[in-house]
Structure formats: structure tokens, C-alpha cells
């Protein structure tokens, strides 16, 4: 019977800690949120399930978790820790993004810059709370509302916080419909929320083809740290818009991005082990993350109001909230809040402009932070 008793010592029951149990419940909560509330299910479901898997305790000699050399999960996690998955996700996103809305109304691009104030003010907050400068940079990026960018930058600046930062970023991205509306209403008058915007002009295919090459050159020359993310985004978009590589674009935005999404989500979740995740630092990261989303939203809305001081064709300031890069959730929130006031006001397409600009803005901000903090 010795073998049976020896074996029982290796079971999860015997080694379970309260922290593990709590994280398993958190994982189940994420999965439930994804399924019941339909919040970012493509990410919350794999992350949640990963958190369940990552918190089953096991004896060290079996090499099961993401941090143990030679384990299967450690190989899958390499794509996270080396920053390989985020650019591949960006390739797929590029191949499914239509920049028309942005091309037809270039001034809305600036809203995607304004919302990045969330990143930098959160950085100051993190410094204030005692995080090191490069940790602060990584935490700040949560305000960019972009999961792959957050993973990419954390893997470079603060690998030990990667789990918390990634999960905070995805959690708040899932909560965009909860976080943004009150801030948007608080900062706008009813009259502003009723503003209707001019129908966007038609964009030629030639513009759509030239755009990804041009925007890559601009971003990359100004902030070389954004080369990988924006390079892949623009390559994906060029594959789509060029019309001569449709089959590549199709694979990039389907089989390729789906495969990477499953493995990225699962291994990020599995990295959130109680032992490394349940720390006071993680709590601070989550608190700062929530604040950063609020600031980013406010930044976009307020900047839109400022722009209106100089514009003849007024912008509906609600679309400033779409300056965060949570595509397309933020744009949908704008549409929703706008339609509460006027069911015939269709802001969705207009909001897509700052929304995709926000993706560029947050990737550029990540590149800048990387340049500043790299050793």
C-alpha cells in the first residue's frame, strides 16, 4: 500500500493551498464571465481555463507548470515570454482591420493619441506607489487597452509582472462596456452627445494600399521600439488591402490568429499561479489598471471637446472615448451611449477612426517606453 500512499502525497488535494483554490475560483469566474456575459470570450475563456490549469498543484519533479524548464507549458509560454505571440496577433488583426473610417477623417486620428495619456499618468501613479521605473512603464501600458501590446512590453520591461499586467489589461478590456459609459456621460453635456457627424467620404483602394506602408514608416522612424508590433499590423493590413495576397490575409486572420490566440490566452492564464500572482503588487497593478482605463477614456473625451473649440464641423465628443485601442468594443460603447440620447445617431463608423488610431497610438507609446527603459 506504500505506493498508494506515496501517490496520494502527489495528488493535488494534498498540496493545494488557499491561494491555488482562490485562483481556480477566479479562473472559473473568468470562464463564466466569457460564457454568460460574452465579455471578450476569445481571450477570457482561454485565460480563465489557463488559470485553473496553472493552479493545480503538483510535485516539482514532474515539470508541469509554465515556470519549470522542459515542461510542455514552458514551451508554449516561450511565445509569451519572448514576445513572439503579440506580433503574430497583430498580423492577424491587421488582416482584419479596415482603416477606411480613419482615412476618411484624418483629424480623428488625434483622439487616438490623446487617450494614451492614460498610459503616462498611470506610469506616474506607479512610480508614486514605489514601483521601479521600468515596472511603472509596463504597468502604465495597461492604459493602452491593448492586450498584445501589454504582453509585448511587459515581457521586455517587467517579465515578473507579465501575468498580472496581461490579465489586468484583458480584464478591463472585457469591462469596457462597464467602465467607459459613466465617465463619458460625466464629461459631456446632453447637447454634445446629440451632435451628429458628417457622413465620411469614400476612400479609394489606392489610399488603403499606400496607408499601411506610410504609417509604418512614420511610426517606426519616430519610435523604433514599435517596429515589430506596427510592422506586423501593417503587413497584415497590406496583405488584406493589396487584393493580390487574399489567401495569405485569409489565413492570417483565421487559422493563424486563432491558433495563437488559444495558446497565448491559455499560457498567460497558466502563468497566473497563486505563488507568483497573489501578491500585493498584483493588487496594485489591478488598481492602477482600472484608473488608467478611466484616465484614457477621459483623455479622449476631453481632447475631443478641446478640438471642437477650433472646428467648424463639430465632433461628437463621445467618440473620444474610442481613442483607447479596445477594438471594436470601445466604438460599440460610443454607438450605444450615443443612441441612448438619439436612437437615429449612428456614431459607430466615426468611432472606428479613433479606435484603430488608438491601436497605433498604444503601440507607439509602448515603443517609446521600451526605448526609454531598455538597459
Amino acid at each position: 500500500m506504500e505506493i498508494l500512499f506515496e501517490f496520494l502525497k502527489t495528488t493535488g488535494f494534498a498540496m493545494m493551498t488557499w491561494g491555488n483554490a482562490l485562483m481556480i475560483i477566479v479562473g472559473i469566474f473568468f470562464v463564466s464571465l466569457a460564457i454568460i456575459k460574452d465579455y471578450e470570450p476569445l481571450l477570457l475563456l482561454p485565460i480563465g481555463f489557463g488559470a485553473i490549469v496553472g493552479n493545480i498543484p503538483s510535485i516539482d519533479s514532474m515539470a508541469l507548470n509554465v515556470y519549470q524548464e522542459g515542461s510542455v507549458l514552458s514551451f508554449l509560454y516561450l511565445g509569451v515570454s519572448k514576445g513572439i505571440y503579440p506580433p503574430l496577433i497583430f498580423l492577424g488583426i491587421g488582416a482584419m482591420t479596415d482603416f477606411s473610417a480613419m482615412l476618411s477623417n484624418p483629424k480623428l486620428v488625434l483622439l487616438g493619441a490623446a487617450a494614451q495619456i492614460g498610459i503616462f499618468l498611470t506610469l506616474i501613479g506607479a512610480l508614486y506607489l514605489g514601483f521601479s521605473p521600468s515596472e511603472s512603464g509596463a504597468i502604465g501600458i495597461i492604459g493602452g487597452a491593448d492586450g498584445p501590446t501589454a504582453i509585448f512590453l511587459s515581457s521586455k520591461l517587467a517579465p515578473h509582472l507579465l501575468g498580472s499586467i496581461a490579465i489586468a489589461a484583458y480584464s478591463y478590456m472585457a469591462l469596457v462596456p462597464v467602465i467607459q459609459p459613466p465617465i463619458m456621460r460625466l464629461l459631456t453635456t446632453k447637447k454634445e452627445r446629440l451632435i451628429r457627424m458628417k457622413e465620411p467620404r469614400h476612400v479609394s483602394q489606392r489610399e488603403k494600399i499606400i496607408f499601411p506602408v506610410a504609417v509604418f514608416l512614420i511610426s517606426a522612424l519616430i519610435a523604433p521600439g514599435s517596429i515589430v508590433l506596427i510592422g506586423m499590423l501593417c503587413l497584415g493590413n497590406l496583405l488584406k488591402e493589396s487584393c493580390v495576397t487574399e489567401r495569405l490575409a485569409n489565413t492570417a486572420r483565421n487559422a493563424m490568429i486563432d491558433t495563437v490566440t488559444i495558446i497565448l490566452g491559455f499560457s498567460v492564464g497558466a502563468s497566473a499561479q497563486a505563488q507568483t500572482f497573489l501578491t500585493s503588487q498584483s493588487l496594485l497593478v489591478f488598481a492602477l489598471g482600472a484608473i488608467s482605463f478611466g484616465i484614457a477614456t477621459a483623455g479622449g473625451v476631453v481632447f475631443a471637446k478641446c478640438m471642437n473649440l477650433f472646428l467648424k464641423d463639430k465632433i461628437n465628443p463621445l467618440i473620444g472615448a474610442a481613442g483607447v485601442s479596445a477594438v471594436p468594443d470601445s466604438a460599440r460603447v460610443v454607438q450605444m451611449v450615443g443612441q441612448k440620447e438619439d436612437p437615429h445617431n449612428f456614431l459607430l463608423m466615426h468611432a472606428m477612426a479613433p479606435n484603430v488610431a488608438g491601436v497605433l497610438g498604444s503601440a507607439i507609446a509602448a515603443g517609446i517606453l521600451w526605448s526609454i527603459f531598455v538597459k
Binding site: 498508494l4 481571450l43 488582416a95 490568429i257 490566440t261 471594436p328
Partner: protein
């Protein structure tokens, strides 16, 4: 090669078999029992849980549910397979 039976004794073959089968049975018996209880629990909690949708929505990928809205503002939405501008999912 040692005598075969001695190998089994040295390798604790019998003990491994008994323990192993016990654990496999334990795991699947608990699973079986859980499956047995599951619909009973769900029936008990049915009153507090929301009614299950008869046909759980299967999202049309990258379809744009605001189509009517968009049509209204007359903006050409490229909703070809897999590449709409206003997709359902984000990554």
C-alpha cells in the same frame, strides 16, 4: 535478465496495478457521480438561474449586427468573409 517473477516483485508490479486501478476507478467513479448529480443540481438551481436559451446564440463571425444602422448612414461596409471592420470579437 533476472528471473521474471523476481522482476515483478522488485518493480512492485502488483502494488502498482492495484493502486493504479484503484485511482483510475476513483477518478472515473467521482466523475460518474458528478455527472449523475449535475442535472439534479441544475434542476434545483433552475429557479435562481436564468432560463437556458433554447438555442444558445452561435455568433456569426465578423458579422456586423448594426447592419441596418450602417446601411442608414450609407457607408460601404466591407463585410466579406472574415474581414469586416466592425467585427464581433477582439483579440
Amino acid at each position: 535478465m533476472n528471473s521474471g517473477v523476481q522482476n515483478i516483485v522488485n518493480g512492485q508490479g502488483i502494488m502498482i496495478t492495484i493502486s493504479g486501478m484503484l485511482i483510475v476507478f476513483a477518478a472515473l467513479a467521482i466523475t460518474s457521480f458528478f455527472i449523475y448529480l449535475l442535472p439534479i443540481f441544475l434542476r434545483i438551481f433552475a429557479s435562481i438561474l436564468p432560463a437556458e436559451e433554447t438555442s444558445h446564440h452561435i455568433p456569426a463571425f465578423y458579422s456586423a449586427p448594426e447592419d441596418e444602422a450602417l446601411a442608414a448612414i450609407g457607408f460601404a461596409l466591407h463585410s466579406e468573409a472574415g474581414g469586416s471592420m466592425v467585427g464581433k470579437e477582439s483579440f
